[in-house]
Protein backbone atom coordinates (compact mmCIF):
# COMPACT_ATOMS: atom_id res chain seq x y z
CA UNK A 1 0.00 0.00 0.00
CA UNK A 2 1.08 3.53 -0.72
CA UNK A 3 2.87 4.90 2.35
CA UNK A 4 1.10 8.26 2.62
CA UNK A 5 -2.22 6.56 2.15
CA UNK A 6 -1.44 4.18 4.98
CA UNK A 7 -0.43 7.06 7.23
CA UNK A 8 -3.67 8.91 6.54
CA UNK A 9 -5.76 5.79 6.93
CA UNK A 10 -4.25 4.67 10.23
CA UNK A 11 -4.39 8.08 11.85
CA UNK A 12 -7.96 8.64 10.64
CA UNK A 13 -9.14 5.29 11.98
CA UNK A 14 -7.50 5.89 15.38
CA UNK A 15 -9.04 9.34 15.62
CA UNK A 16 -12.51 8.14 14.60
CA UNK A 17 -12.45 5.31 17.15
CA UNK A 18 -11.28 7.75 19.80
CA UNK A 19 -14.10 10.12 18.91
CA UNK A 20 -16.74 7.39 19.10
CA UNK A 21 -15.46 6.13 22.45
CA UNK A 22 -15.31 9.61 23.93
CA UNK A 23 -18.74 10.69 22.74
CA UNK A 24 -20.23 7.55 24.25
CA UNK A 25 -18.36 8.20 27.53
CA UNK A 26 -19.43 11.84 27.52
CA UNK A 27 -23.07 10.82 27.08
CA UNK A 28 -22.69 8.56 30.05
CA UNK A 29 -20.91 10.97 32.44
CA UNK A 30 -22.38 14.35 31.46
CA UNK A 31 -25.70 13.95 33.31
CA UNK A 32 -23.86 12.90 36.50
CA UNK A 33 -21.48 15.86 36.28
CA UNK A 34 -24.31 18.33 35.64
CA UNK A 35 -26.23 16.88 38.55
CA UNK A 36 -23.29 17.62 40.87
CA UNK A 37 -23.14 21.18 39.63
CA UNK A 38 -26.85 21.93 40.02
CA UNK A 39 -27.16 20.16 43.36
CA UNK A 40 -24.27 22.19 44.73
CA UNK A 41 -25.78 25.41 43.40
CA UNK A 42 -29.25 24.59 44.78
CA UNK A 43 -27.85 23.63 48.16
CA UNK A 44 -25.96 26.91 48.43
CA UNK A 45 -28.96 28.95 47.34
CA UNK A 46 -31.09 27.31 50.02
CA UNK A 47 -28.44 28.19 52.59
CA UNK A 48 -28.29 31.77 51.39
CA UNK A 49 -32.06 32.35 51.27
CA UNK A 50 -33.09 30.24 54.26
CA UNK A 51 -36.37 31.67 55.46
CA UNK A 52 -38.35 31.39 52.24
CA UNK A 53 -41.45 29.62 51.15
CA UNK A 54 -40.58 29.79 47.48
CA UNK A 55 -37.65 30.57 45.26
CA UNK A 56 -38.28 31.99 41.81
CA UNK A 57 -35.69 31.99 39.08
CA UNK A 58 -35.44 35.11 37.00
CA UNK A 59 -33.25 35.95 34.04
CA UNK A 60 -31.75 39.42 34.15
CA UNK A 61 -29.20 40.27 31.46
CA UNK A 62 -26.32 37.86 31.88
CA UNK A 63 -27.39 36.95 35.43
CA UNK A 64 -29.69 34.33 36.85
CA UNK A 65 -31.47 35.83 39.83
CA UNK A 66 -32.97 33.67 42.54
CA UNK A 67 -35.71 35.60 44.27
CA UNK A 68 -36.76 34.30 47.66
CA UNK A 69 -40.36 35.04 48.60
CA UNK A 70 -42.26 34.62 51.81
CA UNK A 71 -46.03 35.15 51.78
CA UNK A 72 -45.71 36.81 48.38
CA UNK A 73 -43.18 39.35 49.57
CA UNK A 74 -39.60 39.43 48.39
CA UNK A 75 -37.27 38.75 51.32
CA UNK A 76 -33.99 38.21 49.55
CA UNK A 77 -32.27 38.00 46.19
CA UNK A 78 -29.36 35.73 45.36
CA UNK A 79 -27.23 35.53 42.25
CA UNK A 80 -24.04 33.94 41.03
CA UNK A 81 -21.03 36.03 40.07
CA UNK A 82 -17.70 35.05 38.57
CA UNK A 83 -14.41 36.82 38.13
CA UNK A 84 -10.64 36.50 38.22
CA UNK A 85 -8.98 35.54 41.49
CA UNK A 86 -5.29 35.08 42.21
CA UNK A 87 -4.79 31.98 40.06
CA UNK A 88 -8.09 31.37 38.30
CA UNK A 89 -11.76 32.26 38.28
CA UNK A 90 -13.56 32.58 41.61
CA UNK A 91 -17.25 31.81 41.41
CA UNK A 92 -19.53 32.81 44.25
CA UNK A 93 -23.15 33.22 45.22
CA UNK A 94 -24.24 36.30 47.07
CA UNK A 95 -27.51 36.94 48.84
CA UNK A 96 -28.79 40.52 48.98
CA UNK A 97 -31.50 42.27 50.89
CA UNK A 98 -34.45 43.18 48.57
CA UNK A 99 -33.39 46.83 48.35
CA UNK A 100 -29.74 45.94 47.58
CA UNK A 101 -28.53 47.97 50.54
CA UNK A 102 -26.71 45.12 52.25
CA UNK A 103 -25.38 41.62 51.75
CA UNK A 104 -27.19 38.92 53.69
CA UNK A 105 -24.90 36.02 52.94
CA UNK A 106 -21.94 34.99 50.79
CA UNK A 107 -20.83 31.52 49.68
CA UNK A 108 -17.90 30.59 47.47
CA UNK A 109 -19.03 28.12 44.80
CA UNK A 110 -15.65 27.28 43.31
CA UNK A 111 -12.10 28.59 43.43
CA UNK A 112 -8.57 27.38 42.80
CA UNK A 113 -6.62 29.82 44.96
CA UNK A 114 -3.25 28.99 46.52
CA UNK A 115 -3.79 26.08 48.92
CA UNK A 116 -3.34 27.18 52.53
CA UNK A 117 -3.44 30.89 51.74
CA UNK A 118 -6.04 31.96 49.18
CA UNK A 119 -8.21 28.96 50.04
CA UNK A 120 -8.86 30.67 53.38
CA UNK A 121 -11.62 32.57 51.59
CA UNK A 122 -13.54 29.28 51.91
CA UNK A 123 -11.92 27.50 54.82
CA UNK A 124 -9.33 28.73 57.31
CA UNK A 125 -8.28 25.84 59.55
CA UNK A 126 -6.01 28.13 61.62
CA UNK A 127 -8.97 30.15 62.87
CA UNK A 128 -11.55 29.11 65.46
CA UNK A 129 -14.22 29.94 62.92
CA UNK A 130 -13.00 28.45 59.61
CA UNK A 131 -15.49 30.48 57.59
CA UNK A 132 -14.70 33.81 59.24
CA UNK A 133 -13.86 35.45 55.91
CA UNK A 134 -17.22 34.88 54.21
CA UNK A 135 -19.03 35.41 57.53
CA UNK A 136 -17.78 39.00 57.58
CA UNK A 137 -20.02 39.75 54.63
CA UNK A 138 -23.18 38.99 56.58
CA UNK A 139 -25.16 42.22 56.99
CA UNK A 140 -22.39 44.20 55.31
CA UNK A 141 -23.55 47.56 53.98
CA UNK A 142 -22.91 48.52 50.37
CA UNK A 143 -22.47 52.23 50.88
CA UNK A 144 -21.13 53.21 48.41
CA UNK A 145 -19.10 50.02 48.05
CA UNK A 146 -17.24 47.38 50.07
CA UNK A 147 -13.79 48.29 51.31
CA UNK A 148 -11.16 45.91 52.65
CA UNK A 149 -8.65 46.76 55.38
CA UNK A 150 -5.37 44.97 56.06
CA UNK A 151 -4.16 43.75 59.45
CA UNK A 152 -6.81 45.65 61.34
CA UNK A 153 -10.29 45.08 62.59
CA UNK A 154 -12.94 46.68 60.38
CA UNK A 155 -14.39 49.80 61.96
CA UNK A 156 -17.05 50.89 59.46
CA UNK A 157 -20.19 49.09 58.35
CA UNK A 158 -18.91 48.63 54.81
CA UNK A 159 -15.47 47.29 55.72
CA UNK A 160 -14.11 43.76 55.90
CA UNK A 161 -10.71 42.47 56.94
CA UNK A 162 -8.46 40.98 54.24
CA UNK A 163 -6.75 37.63 54.82
CA UNK A 164 -3.10 38.03 55.81
CA UNK A 165 -0.98 36.51 53.04
CA UNK A 166 -3.88 36.41 50.61
CA UNK A 167 -4.61 40.05 49.95
CA UNK A 168 -5.12 39.45 46.23
CA UNK A 169 -7.69 36.71 46.85
CA UNK A 170 -9.49 38.90 49.39
CA UNK A 171 -9.36 41.88 47.05
CA UNK A 172 -10.68 39.76 44.16
CA UNK A 173 -13.74 38.74 46.16
CA UNK A 174 -14.41 42.35 47.17
CA UNK A 175 -13.97 43.69 43.63
CA UNK A 176 -16.09 40.89 42.23
CA UNK A 177 -18.89 41.82 44.64
CA UNK A 178 -18.61 45.55 44.05
CA UNK A 179 -18.80 45.36 40.26
CA UNK A 180 -21.46 42.65 40.05
CA UNK A 181 -23.72 44.04 42.78
CA UNK A 182 -23.82 47.47 41.18
CA UNK A 183 -24.54 45.88 37.77
CA UNK A 184 -27.33 43.67 39.06
CA UNK A 185 -28.77 46.50 41.13
CA UNK A 186 -28.93 48.74 38.06
CA UNK A 187 -30.54 46.01 35.95
CA UNK A 188 -33.00 45.15 38.71
CA UNK A 189 -34.10 48.73 39.34
CA UNK A 190 -34.47 49.45 35.62
CA UNK A 191 -36.79 46.51 35.28
Amino acid sequence: MNKSLKMILVLTIITVISGVVLSYWDNFTRPIINEHKTSKLNKLILEILPENNSIEEMKLGEYNLYVGKKDGEIVGIAFKAEGGGYSDIISLIVGMSPDFSKITSLKILSQVETPGLGTKIVDDPSNENPTWFTDQFKNLKIDPEIIYVKNAKPTKENEIQAITGATISSKSVVNLLNTNISKVKKLYIEK
Binding site: K3, K6, M7, V10, L11, I14, T15, S18, V21, L22, W25, D26, T29, I32, I33, H36, D88, S110, V112, T114, P115, G116, L117, P125, S126, G165
Partner: protein, 204 residues
Amino acid sequence: MSKKKVTLIQEFLKGIWKENPILISLLGLCPTLAVTVSAENGLAMGLAATFVVISSSIIVSMLRKIIPSEVRIASFIVIIATFVTIADRFLAAYFPDISSSLGPFIPLIIVNCMILGRQEAFASKNGIGRSFLDAFGVGLGFTLVLVLLGTIRELFGSGTIFGIQVMWDSFHPWAVMILPPGAFLALGLMIGASNWLNELGEKK
Protein backbone atom coordinates in the same frame (compact mmCIF):
# COMPACT_ATOMS: atom_id res chain seq x y z
CA MET B 1 19.64 -3.93 27.78
CA SER B 2 18.99 -7.09 25.84
CA LYS B 3 15.35 -8.04 25.82
CA LYS B 4 15.70 -11.75 26.42
CA LYS B 5 17.65 -11.45 29.65
CA VAL B 6 15.10 -9.23 31.39
CA THR B 7 12.67 -11.40 33.32
CA LEU B 8 9.03 -10.41 33.53
CA ILE B 9 9.30 -9.53 37.21
CA GLN B 10 12.27 -7.25 36.49
CA GLU B 11 10.25 -5.59 33.76
CA PHE B 12 7.68 -4.70 36.40
CA LEU B 13 10.06 -3.78 39.22
CA LYS B 14 12.40 -1.52 37.26
CA GLY B 15 9.82 1.27 37.07
CA ILE B 16 9.49 1.38 40.84
CA TRP B 17 13.12 1.99 41.73
CA LYS B 18 15.87 1.49 39.13
CA GLU B 19 14.12 3.49 36.41
CA ASN B 20 11.67 5.41 38.58
CA PRO B 21 10.10 8.02 36.30
CA ILE B 22 10.46 10.87 38.78
CA LEU B 23 13.47 10.09 40.97
CA ILE B 24 15.74 8.69 38.25
CA SER B 25 14.45 9.78 34.83
CA LEU B 26 13.05 13.10 36.12
CA LEU B 27 10.04 12.79 33.81
CA GLY B 28 6.57 14.18 34.44
CA LEU B 29 7.82 16.79 36.89
CA CYS B 30 5.18 19.41 36.09
CA PRO B 31 2.23 17.53 37.64
CA THR B 32 4.56 16.15 40.30
CA LEU B 33 5.46 19.60 41.55
CA ALA B 34 2.06 21.18 41.06
CA VAL B 35 -0.47 18.77 42.56
CA THR B 36 1.37 17.27 45.53
CA VAL B 37 0.04 19.74 48.10
CA SER B 38 -1.64 16.83 49.86
CA ALA B 39 -1.27 13.07 49.98
CA GLU B 40 -4.79 12.63 48.62
CA ASN B 41 -4.08 14.76 45.56
CA GLY B 42 -0.85 12.86 44.95
CA LEU B 43 -2.67 9.54 45.14
CA ALA B 44 -5.46 10.65 42.78
CA MET B 45 -2.98 12.06 40.27
CA GLY B 46 -0.81 8.94 40.48
CA LEU B 47 -3.72 6.58 39.95
CA ALA B 48 -5.08 8.61 37.04
CA ALA B 49 -1.65 8.62 35.37
CA THR B 50 -1.24 4.89 36.04
CA PHE B 51 -4.58 4.14 34.42
CA VAL B 52 -3.60 6.22 31.38
CA VAL B 53 -0.12 4.74 30.99
CA ILE B 54 -1.35 1.13 31.31
CA SER B 55 -4.27 1.54 28.91
CA SER B 56 -2.22 3.46 26.34
CA SER B 57 0.65 0.98 26.54
CA ILE B 58 -1.70 -1.94 25.86
CA ILE B 59 -3.31 -0.23 22.87
CA VAL B 60 0.00 1.04 21.46
CA SER B 61 1.55 -2.39 21.86
CA MET B 62 -1.43 -3.97 20.07
CA LEU B 63 -1.18 -1.49 17.20
CA ARG B 64 2.62 -1.30 17.04
CA LYS B 65 2.84 -3.21 13.73
CA ILE B 66 0.04 -1.19 12.10
CA ILE B 67 1.08 2.36 13.02
CA PRO B 68 3.56 3.75 10.44
CA SER B 69 6.60 5.20 12.19
CA GLU B 70 6.08 8.61 10.54
CA VAL B 71 2.82 9.21 12.38
CA ARG B 72 3.60 7.29 15.55
CA ILE B 73 3.86 10.31 17.87
CA ALA B 74 0.57 11.73 16.61
CA SER B 75 -1.10 8.33 17.06
CA PHE B 76 0.32 7.91 20.57
CA ILE B 77 -0.92 11.35 21.57
CA VAL B 78 -4.44 10.67 20.28
CA ILE B 79 -4.52 7.36 22.16
CA ILE B 80 -3.20 8.95 25.36
CA ALA B 81 -5.58 11.89 25.06
CA THR B 82 -8.52 9.52 24.73
CA PHE B 83 -7.68 7.77 27.99
CA VAL B 84 -6.91 11.03 29.78
CA THR B 85 -10.33 12.38 28.82
CA ILE B 86 -11.97 9.19 30.06
CA ALA B 87 -10.13 9.51 33.40
CA ASP B 88 -10.94 13.23 33.65
CA ARG B 89 -14.67 12.74 33.11
CA PHE B 90 -14.69 9.74 35.44
CA LEU B 91 -13.19 11.82 38.27
CA ALA B 92 -15.54 14.73 37.57
CA ALA B 93 -18.54 12.40 37.72
CA TYR B 94 -17.66 10.22 40.70
CA PHE B 95 -15.08 12.20 42.72
CA PRO B 96 -16.09 15.84 42.15
CA ASP B 97 -14.06 17.14 45.12
CA ILE B 98 -10.80 15.57 43.96
CA SER B 99 -11.52 16.63 40.41
CA SER B 100 -11.97 20.26 41.41
CA SER B 101 -8.85 20.30 43.57
CA LEU B 102 -6.70 18.83 40.78
CA GLY B 103 -8.17 21.33 38.34
CA PRO B 104 -6.44 21.43 34.96
CA PHE B 105 -3.71 18.96 35.90
CA ILE B 106 -5.74 15.89 34.96
CA PRO B 107 -6.20 17.03 31.32
CA LEU B 108 -2.51 17.95 31.36
CA ILE B 109 -1.56 14.28 31.82
CA ILE B 110 -1.78 14.22 28.01
CA VAL B 111 1.52 16.04 27.77
CA ASN B 112 3.15 14.15 30.64
CA CYS B 113 6.39 13.04 29.00
CA MET B 114 6.60 9.98 31.26
CA ILE B 115 3.57 8.51 29.47
CA LEU B 116 4.64 9.38 25.95
CA GLY B 117 8.12 8.17 26.87
CA ARG B 118 6.84 4.68 27.77
CA GLN B 119 5.01 4.41 24.42
CA GLU B 120 8.02 5.54 22.43
CA ALA B 121 10.68 3.64 24.36
CA PHE B 122 8.82 0.49 25.30
CA ALA B 123 5.25 -0.25 24.22
CA SER B 124 5.91 0.38 20.53
CA LYS B 125 8.70 -2.23 20.57
CA ASN B 126 7.39 -4.93 22.90
CA GLY B 127 4.52 -7.37 23.24
CA ILE B 128 1.33 -6.70 25.15
CA GLY B 129 2.28 -8.62 28.30
CA ARG B 130 5.63 -6.93 28.75
CA SER B 131 4.19 -3.53 27.89
CA PHE B 132 1.52 -4.00 30.53
CA LEU B 133 4.07 -4.95 33.20
CA ASP B 134 6.36 -2.10 32.22
CA ALA B 135 3.53 0.46 32.33
CA PHE B 136 2.19 -0.94 35.60
CA GLY B 137 5.62 -0.69 37.23
CA VAL B 138 6.25 2.83 35.97
CA GLY B 139 2.76 3.93 37.00
CA LEU B 140 3.21 2.46 40.45
CA GLY B 141 6.63 4.09 40.82
CA PHE B 142 5.10 7.42 39.80
CA THR B 143 2.20 7.00 42.25
CA LEU B 144 4.45 6.03 45.16
CA VAL B 145 6.67 9.09 44.71
CA LEU B 146 3.65 11.38 44.35
CA VAL B 147 2.02 10.03 47.50
CA LEU B 148 5.28 10.28 49.46
CA LEU B 149 5.92 13.82 48.24
CA GLY B 150 2.31 14.79 48.96
CA THR B 151 2.55 13.28 52.45
CA ILE B 152 5.75 15.17 53.29
CA ARG B 153 4.37 18.48 52.01
CA GLU B 154 1.00 18.01 53.70
CA LEU B 155 2.63 16.99 56.98
CA PHE B 156 4.80 20.10 57.25
CA GLY B 157 2.56 22.47 55.30
CA SER B 158 -0.77 21.70 56.96
CA GLY B 159 0.10 19.37 59.85
CA THR B 160 -2.13 16.61 58.47
CA ILE B 161 -1.80 13.38 56.46
CA PHE B 162 -4.72 12.40 54.22
CA GLY B 163 -6.66 15.14 55.99
CA ILE B 164 -6.10 13.66 59.47
CA GLN B 165 -4.39 15.84 62.05
CA VAL B 166 -1.07 14.26 63.09
CA MET B 167 1.00 17.19 64.34
CA TRP B 168 0.64 18.49 67.89
CA ASP B 169 -1.80 21.34 68.47
CA SER B 170 0.72 24.16 68.85
CA PHE B 171 2.51 23.16 65.61
CA HIS B 172 2.54 26.11 63.25
CA PRO B 173 2.28 24.89 59.62
CA TRP B 174 5.12 25.91 57.31
CA ALA B 175 3.10 27.56 54.56
CA VAL B 176 6.11 27.39 52.24
CA MET B 177 5.75 23.61 51.98
CA ILE B 178 2.41 23.81 50.19
CA LEU B 179 3.60 26.62 47.94
CA PRO B 180 5.67 25.96 44.79
CA PRO B 181 9.07 26.42 46.55
CA GLY B 182 8.12 23.65 48.98
CA ALA B 183 7.62 21.29 46.04
CA PHE B 184 11.14 21.97 44.78
CA LEU B 185 12.66 21.65 48.25
CA ALA B 186 10.94 18.38 49.06
CA LEU B 187 11.51 16.83 45.63
CA GLY B 188 15.15 17.89 45.63
CA LEU B 189 15.73 16.27 49.00
CA MET B 190 13.92 13.11 47.86
CA ILE B 191 16.05 12.83 44.71
CA GLY B 192 19.16 13.46 46.80
CA ALA B 193 18.15 10.73 49.24
CA SER B 194 17.45 8.23 46.46
CA ASN B 195 20.84 8.96 44.83
CA TRP B 196 22.54 8.52 48.17
CA LEU B 197 20.80 5.17 48.70
CA ASN B 198 21.80 4.03 45.21
CA GLU B 199 25.43 4.95 45.81
CA LEU B 200 25.35 3.16 49.12
CA GLY B 201 24.06 0.06 47.32
CA GLU B 202 26.79 0.22 44.67
CA LYS B 203 29.60 0.43 47.20
CA LYS B 204 28.63 -2.81 48.86
